[in-house]
Amino acid sequence: MKSQWPDRFLAVAGVLTQSLVYITMLLPPIIVVGASLTAGNSMVFPPEGLSLRWYHEAFQNTAFMNAFVMSLELGFAAMFLSLAIGFAGAYGMDRYRFFGRETLRATALSPLIVPVVVLGIGLLQLLTAIGFGQTFFGLLIGHVIITLPYVVRTLTTSLALLDRSYEEAAANLRAAPHVVLRRVTLPLLLPGFLSAGIFAFVISFGNITLSIFLGFAGAETLPVQIFTYVEHSYDPTLAAVSTMVIVLTVIIMLAIERIAGMDKVL
């Protein structure tokens, strides 16, 4: 029966903080969905009347729709490549001690610290010099570079916290190392992979500056399309397109989770 108030305080503060967080995170999507349903000509909230006309506009806008598809392709490609390279690297750094390990770890984080405009110009010049200017590969490698910090960081932490006794038990049962990796290590790392994958996809999907520098005619991403669109036009089409992004994000997240089978792991 020691003092109860810190407990109560902790419980109440926890609930309050979480409510605040969820409300704050939900407001922008709700406002966008609201604004997209306007019957008027301006993007305002609250909307002026209700209609689906701006969705009609958005679907008819092939530039937006193509950019949407492009962003999805690029996001998934960057996510998979980043997870593959990042996991191999994080696993190597976790299991082996070698010269330059800390340097490699710090370097993997540093794309976040280099201002994106600078990285964009540097990469554009480099890629053009080696013949990969204006290519999908160039755009993809740029996105891999900016997603790697999240992937390496998240997987490094997960690996460090991994309970090695499961792996040892499996090894004692004479499971081959690659079997241990596939059947024990990777499943245990699934939450980390999930976080890292979500990070990578979302970062790539939302990036604008790097995509402006490395993108080219035929490979424009949705954020770039939106950014350029508002240079000369501003109407609720934007809200309609953003609502589609919201819906698609929900579908993708549910699908990733289903595939990853997160329920069974945690």
Partner: protein
């Protein structure tokens, strides 16, 4: 696909011998693709309808517009001088001296692009460099439901009744440079003596909600009524009015300060003839007129527009042209860095 085409060809060939030569005839730019940086949204749509589509039909030329904003396009071009990503760069007045300085653009001559002759007299700001296609002007705008007394000048933005209601560009946006020069020249200064402008700005400062580099940000502020008065591009004020917003458009009494948007043919393009053909088409009355008609920015040529349209464009025709203050963009480019630094220091 193959079988269907064979089928089509054989059936059509039988009956349409006359049509065949028209289909087969090679066009001059059949396998040529030009890349331009687009201006985005409705702008690219109009360019496609009035320039790219007709050119495709007439000459076989393909045109692609790569979005991303014109400042970034200029930066990308300068970053990769040996292999620039565009055949033609679209950008505004302040960027043209940079492209000239970096030796990245070719001059445009009437023998290659005959429609250059249609440009309003005395309009081009850089001799034969760059082809202007649109004039954007800085105008005063205010919400007529919230501000009863009309606002006639930039100086009026310092009025006490506008406290906390004014939104303006910062100097990152050229719109900011334009009102700065307007206030300098109205108060006895100019490019070489910018102090009067900063003094005038100091008087407006207490009224300022925010200063932003983003055009769309200003529009959001006005539409959500976070700010009720300020300076904006004439075309964007028209768009707000068109969407039913109660925003007034006033040509400031300090004068009309404008920038022009230019087509710049990039040096070393693989398809100089196609570029010239594009530029010529882009200066046609259809293209220039369609842009002016939709955005209500000033046309750069002697194109004729319906009176109802022309009346809403403050720089229309030779009389409108005469109202535009002439600016030395090369000199502005030299001074801008210092102005921005001073602006950042004093306005924060």
């Amino acid at each position: 696909m193959q079988t269907r085409r064979t089928f089509l060809v054989s059936t059509v060939a039988a009956g349409a011998v006359l049509a065949a030569p028209a289909i087969v005839r090679a066009k001059p730019f059949d396998n040529v693709t030009l890349t331009l940086n687009g201006f985005g949204g409705d702008f690219d749509r109009i360019m496609k309808e009035t320039v790219a589509d007709p050119l495709k039909a007439e000459t076989g030329l393909d045109v692609t517009y790569a979005p991303g904003g014109s400042s970034a396009a200029v930066a990308k071009t300068i970053a990769t001088p040996d292999n620039p990503p565009f055949d033609i760069v679209l950008c505004d007045s302040p960027s043209v001296p940079e492209l000239i300085k970096a030796d990245m653009i070719d001059p445009v001559t009437p023998d290659k692009v005959p429609n250059v002759a249609n440009l309003l007299p005395g309009l081009p700001e850089f001799g034969q460099h760059g082809v202007p296609f649109m004039i954007s002007s800085s105008v005063i705008t205010y919400n007529t439901e919230e501000t009863q007394t009309p606002i006639a000048s930039y100086a009026d933005l310092a009025r006490p009744d506008l406290e906390g209601r004014v939104a303006l560009f910062n100097l990152e946006n050229t719109g900011g440079v334009l009102y700065l020069l307007a206030m300098a020249e109205a108060n006895g200064g100019g490019i070489d003596n910018i102090d009067p402008a900063f003094a005038a700005l100091e008087r407006i400062k207490p009224n300022i909600v925010t200063l932003t580099s983003s055009t769309v940000s200003l529009i959001q502020l006005f539409e959500q009524r976070e700010a009720t008065a300020g300076a904006l591009w004439n075309g964007r004020v028209f768009a707000m009015q068109n969407a039913g917003q109660p925003m007034a458009m006033v040509a400031p009494s300090e004068g009309i300060y404008s920038l022009m948007s230019y087509y710049n043919p990039i040096k070393g393009t693989k398809h100089p003839e196609a570029v010239a053909t594009y530029l010529n088409k882009a200066l046609s009355d259809e293209a220039i007129g369609a842009i002016a008609n939709f955005f209500r920015y000033g046309p750069t040529t002697t194109v004729d527009l319906p009176k109802a349209v022309a009346d809403t464009i403050i720089t229309f025709g030779p009389e409108g042209r005469a109202k535009i203050k002439t600016l030395d963009w090369t000199k502005i480019a030299e001074k801008r860095s210092g102005w921005i630094e001073r602006f950042n220091r004093t306005m924060a």
